[in-house]
């Protein structure tokens, strides 16, 4: 009787180990299949102000996919390049693009007012959403995405520049950051292949 009990426990442990191993292998395979870098991080809800002067919370987008990028409108090179690439990605999705939203969150809320974002964002795509907020709100959301930013010591003749993470994040329907793309990796076709796996 005692032997049967021991054998049962050993069997259960073996089965549990196999299930765990199988899950881990599947999980790893899933991660390796993506073009972007797997993140797998839950994010808190954040409420910001859109370029259309509407209050927007990240939780409003639950059930949809999100592409999120951080930048600033006085940025002459990287930010417009990233947004232009995001436009290509968005267009490449085709008919299913209503299932995804693209958010541009400013890291320069002092200059990027709602009015300023409204001049900037629709140029890249009418469906894109620009978001701004208070210094604290921006600090909080960027920290959740592990996005660092700071004012550069070198100023232009007229203004200051910002250093910042220029990666693009893909958030799944549950609100989890699943993939990250450094901006130079934003090849539309490959990114869209990833996106479609989450649709």
């Amino acid at each position: 009787m005692r032997n049967i009990k021991t054998i049962s426990i050993v069997l259960i442990l073996i089965i549990a180990a196999w299930v765990l191993l199988g899950y881990k292998l599947l999980d790893l395979k899933e991660k390796e299949d993506f073009y972007g870098f797997y993140v797998g991080k839950e994010i808190s809800d954040h409420t910001l102000m859109s370029h259309k002067s509407e209050t927007v919370s990240l939780s409003d987008f639950k059930g949809e996919l999100l592409l999120v990028n951080f930048g600033y409108t006085h940025c002459p090179d990287i930010c417009p390049t990233t947004l232009a690439r995001l436009r290509k990605v968005y267009e490449e999705i085709g008919k299913k693009k209503d299932k995804i939203d693209v958010l541009f969150i400013t890291i320069d809320p002092e200059r990027d007012t709602v009015k300023r974002l409204n001049e900037f964002i629709p140029y890249f795509h009418k469906d894109f959403t620009g978001l701004t907020g208070t210094e604290e709100q921006i600090k909080s959301v960027s920290s959740d995405f592990n996005v660092q930013y700071f004012r550069e010591e070198i100023k232009t003749e007229k203004d200051y520049l910002m250093s910042h993470n220029s990666s693009v994040f893909l958030i799944d329907k549950s609100g989890k950051i699943v993939l990250k793309y450094p901006q130079q990796m934003l090849e539309a076709e490959k990114v869209v292949r990833d996106i479609k796996k989450f649709m």
């Binding site: 409108t73 002459p76 090179d77 390049t81 070198i154």
Partner: protein, 145 residues
Amino acid sequence: MYKVNILVLVLISSILFACNGSSGVSVDDAWVREVPEGIETTALYMNIRNNNERSDMLLSVKSDIAASAEIHKTSVNKDGISYMEKIETIEIPPSSTIKLEPGGMHVMLIGLKKKIKSGDIVEVITEFRDSGTKQVKAKIRGLDD
């Protein structure tokens, strides 16, 4: 008479070649990123070819469409942070091409004086240490160009 003509042709060719050799820097594919109205900074990109046997140096860039122009370089550090550095000059090694392109070296045009529209051509003046000033035509490129 025929021989004289050939000699004249050879002489003219040599003079032209010599002129070209002394100012053998060429600027191609210059373009400016279109920006929406109200946005007053943009970037200018170009390819600079140095055909000389000694290096040259880009000293400055100017354009009537902007209050000022600065040469910058965008780099990404190991933490994925993009940052810009102001560069005073760009060295163009002999027999090589330096590309000013998105995500790398570029000319930041600050204080745009007028709206720039895809397809428009703007005048840009580049100044080189040895090759002097060169007037360049840069095309405004929109998102789908």
